[in-house]
Assembly symmetry: C2
Homo-oligomer: 341 residues x 2
Amino acid sequence: MLKNDLLIRAAKGEQTDRVPVWLMRQAGRILPEYRAIRESLSGFKELVETPDLAAEVTIQPVDILGVDAAIIFSDILVIPEAMGLPYTMVEKKGPYFEQTINSEADLKKLTSTNLNLNYVFDAIKETKKRLDGRVPLIGFAGAPWTILCYMIEGSGSKTFSKPRGLLYKNPKMAHQLLEMITESTIAYLKEQVKAGADVLQIFDSWAGILDKKQYAEFGIRYINRICEEIDEVPITVFSKGANFSLGELKDLDCRTIGLDWHVDGKTAREIIGDEKTLQGNLDPCALYAVDDVLIQKVTEMLDEFGSQKYIANLGHGVYPDTDPEKVKLFIDTVKKHKFHQ
Amino acid sequence: MLKNDLLIRAAKGEQTDRVPVWLMRQAGRILPEYRAIRESLSGFKELVETPDLAAEVTIQPVDILGVDAAIIFSDILVIPEAMGLPYTMVEKKGPYFEQTINSEADLKKLTSTNLNLNYVFDAIKETKKRLDGRVPLIGFAGAPWTILCYMIEGSGSKTFSKPRGLLYKNPKMAHQLLEMITESTIAYLKEQVKAGADVLQIFDSWAGILDKKQYAEFGIRYINRICEEIDEVPITVFSKGANFSLGELKDLDCRTIGLDWHVDGKTAREIIGDEKTLQGNLDPCALYAVDDVLIQKVTEMLDEFGSQKYIANLGHGVYPDTDPEKVKLFIDTVKKHKFHQ
């Protein structure tokens, strides 16, 4: 039983006494307590792959910042790795895949069943044990399109011109790969739920590099397959940069739509309608402001979104150089806010 | 007198017999003839700063590809350099500024008058001489917001969290710097026109990282100042990623709005109205497609935009690994297209 079930209630569209709040990337990045653990290790992946330590950094923001949910410390790229493409995380540069998918023949080297991701499920079990019902635990995965981007490009990119090019050069192959990723992701998320995840979030970090038609065909379609297959827990879909597709995202078989900072709460609600819960969307750069300005920005956001069917968050993952005191102020401002209705 | 004035006529909103076509980044990047010159030099900047060579690579796409305009080979970062922040272009990484603007005191180190950019004006003069009226020459500059991004961040960035943070931390300082950049840019563009530029384009490469309100205050406002000051030649404004602001860009005191590939021609025309000329917007990744698919995509684009008040282009600079034959096919498809009206 959860002692604080605000996030679950909001995600299910039930009445809440106050707005729940958490931050994307809260586990890892900003806390000195996180950095101390991270620096004692060989690298980012050792932390991801060690359940005991992953659980520890997952819980830090609950203890230190007072967020209403924990999100399991992991990486969206564990899926392509488990499918057959190992990656390294290069300090200050980001992920790098030695092998990528260049042809239909390469697809045969991949597996989409019996993925070895037990270290993630063990981290979830350990986290749930240590949380002891204080707050819900969020599990997550990358959306198929974003995972395809890395499997084709092999690293981050300013343009992701290789995966985008594939959609013109060989759309059939793109669909085959998206099918495999989707199948893997469904199995992965179902196991996360079995291990104890109370809510799931799908991150489509590179949604915004496609146009609306492409995103419907190569993005939303596969996200919806995942949503349709999982009805055990509420799902949040965060399609970063794809506000041009909000009118289509509203029909997804999910409970919550995550929003980036390019759309205001009123506009998002108008487009998405009253049915779904909305999550977001303070510009993470607002956390660099002096206190008064930060409080004003958070207050404006809250009044735009309203008190119900809403989960306060940033519009992007918190940036690494953010002062944790500003994050606390963000969280406290949400918790103390009085809505005038 | 121009022998081919299609681009100028389209930019002025006059009737044209066919749609003019050129490509962003056509000068440099894709042609083997360009690479041969580039490889004989110490670096990118030597090419930018040598008028004779800059003129040569500016004209290559006119001779080889058959575009309806030349665009002067240069870089938007010559402005921050002339204002006092020298940069280097690091191979495969992009621009790097050793000094950046961190405080109001740093602003005093900058100059916004008597900028030494004669090498650009000399390149324009030399190009005009060699073009001998075959096609118009496009001059350009970065928009103040995009230039500020580099002056604050000091390099490319996934998030540009420093300049975005400044808008929250010290908006007054942001406005001061934007004023200085705007003043420099007006003088710079006026000199380009005196040297022979027939059309001007303002590139706001990082428009899309702001929200709509911020872009109005820190972006559009300064672009409009530039547009209001220059009435010698038609101006095109390309605010990449800022389709959320099309309804405001339509009121700019410029002739043409450049579009990225995230908006279709019909929607853009509906929002912007009938007054302005539109330019764009094929996804550069469509140039990776087989010929039939490429022809189909170009044809769809042309039919959406229509035959008048339209300049065919890509929705982003052509990517370096693009086959020049595909670029020729793009250009030829535009030239041969029959509109059914």
